[in-house]
Amino acid sequence: MNPGLRTSASGMKAQQLMVDTIANNLANVNTTGFKRSRVSFEDVLYETLEGARTVNPQDSQTLAPIQIGKGVRLAAIARLHTQGAPEQTGRTLDVAIEGDGFFQVQKPDDTIAYTRDGSLSVSDTGALVTHGGYRVLPNVTLPPDVQDVTISPSGIVSATGAGGTPVELGRIELARFVNPSGMMSLGENLFGETAASGRPLTGYPQEQGFGRLLQGMLESSNVEIVQEMTDMIAAQRAYEINAKAIRAGEEMMQATNDLIR
């Protein structure tokens, strides 16, 4: 059997995976704080048929080794944590991060998750929570008679109560990672720390390289439709070409079979 067939099949599988990833990116083009994923592939083992060899000892003519590659496989699917465009919503408790950092939220099992989705609301106990109902850390509790809330670019939350004078209630802290694409997606726009992401480094917005907070805005998805569509077309074409390579290999085998009468 022509070993090239398997090679081409791995190429088709890779392009299929590429299209799947692009489809998921496109499906989340309007998801707040969504980060697009990128698939990376690597070549697989090479079969060395003949090592480097000298063919003409007189003039020491050497030929490079002959190696035949066995196709391609998935290396990683990395989430690209580039900035999404901040979009004006006008809602007081919508907060976008411009620059590095994640909001820290407390999950019911007391673990900490991280998110860029700052569509916050107030729980029945007055705590700032994400739209999934998870508390934002460190805890900021709003008084019951609150009339107006301001969140400054540096994360300071202040509220104006019935008295009319603004009171400082706390400061939102952010966390960042050396390798954010190593984080694990937990669904609900949340990410978790892993060995690959590194330890979280916490700090206040606008300090030590952390981004600033923008009140009344949400970070839109960083998926760019035009880019995804071009990648999709390229993947489709590459899929077809690999299919054609299978066809060519198959016809060559057929020709060989026809030799025997």
Partner: protein, 231 residues
């Protein structure tokens, strides 16, 4: 004469089926970061009447693509980064680098990327990699990525996962002109259109060799069956 012709045609078939495999591998890696295509050509050697397959590694630059990920590293120019595998030092064109649990900078498969001072351990902080490979964390220089090559890159062997193996006993030399591009990825340097054309050519040439073999076989049949007949 026809016997020799059959042998030549058989060598031709073997050559074209190798060529098909190599082309299939180049096309299968149409989206592989930093992939370098292999080119197989036939060469006539002294005293031989059929082509001997000769392969060479096409190390031409691939297009660079912006990803925005801090640990994506592409190279511009001739040369490689050095990665340490359990089997020894290997060369790589970069790609999507990662961190292991201890903050060690590795390639996609977890092999440590080498700096001028050995493995690179990144603490928590903003990583910046400059054109000359200098790695800074939160603005403070940490180390410099080791940029290297060999005297004759054509003798490099591939071992998969984008790694190149220097021939035994060959020393790595510095590649100071090599530029390191952070947050970018090098596209493979293959050309799908040319690959398509190659496929068609290979298939036709293979068929032609099959036909030649059949013709030669017919001649042999005539000699053995007709000429030799008595009465």
């Amino acid at each position: 004469m026809p016997l020799r012709g059959i042998r030549n045609a058989a060598h031709g078939l073997a050559y074209y089926s190798r060529l098909q495999e190599v082309t299939a591998n180049n096309l299968a890696n149409a989206s592989t970061d930093g992939f370098k295509v292999d080119r197989l050509t036939g060469r006539m050697l002294d005293g031989q009447s059929y082509p001997v397959p000769v392969e060479h590694l096409d190390l031409r630059q691939g297009a660079l693509r912006q990803t925005g990920r801090d640990l994506d590293v592409a190279l511009e120019g001739d040369g490689f980064l050095v990665v340490k595998t359990p089997a020894g030092e290997r060369l790589t064109r970069g790609g999507s680098l990662k961190l292991d649990g201890d903050g060690l900078l590795t390639d996609g498969e977890g092999n440590p990327i080498q700096g001028e001072r050995g493995p690179i351990i990144l603490g928590a902080g903003k990583v910046e990699i400059q054109g000359d490979g200098t790695v800074l964390v939160d603005g403070a220089p940490l180390d410099q990525l080791r940029r290297a090559t060999v005297a004759d890159p054509g003798q490099l062997k591939k071992e998969g996962a984008g790694r190149f193996v220097p021939p035994d006993g060959v020393k790595l030399i510095d590649a100071e002109k090599l530029l390191v591009r952070q947050a970018q990825i090098e596209d493979p340097n293959n050309d799908a259109v040319l690959g398509m054309i190659d496929l068609v050519t290979i298939q036709r040439a293979y068929a032609a060799n099959v036909d030649a073999l059949k013709a030669m076989d017919g001649v042999l049949g005539t000699i053995a069956g007709d000429i030799g007949r008595v009465g």
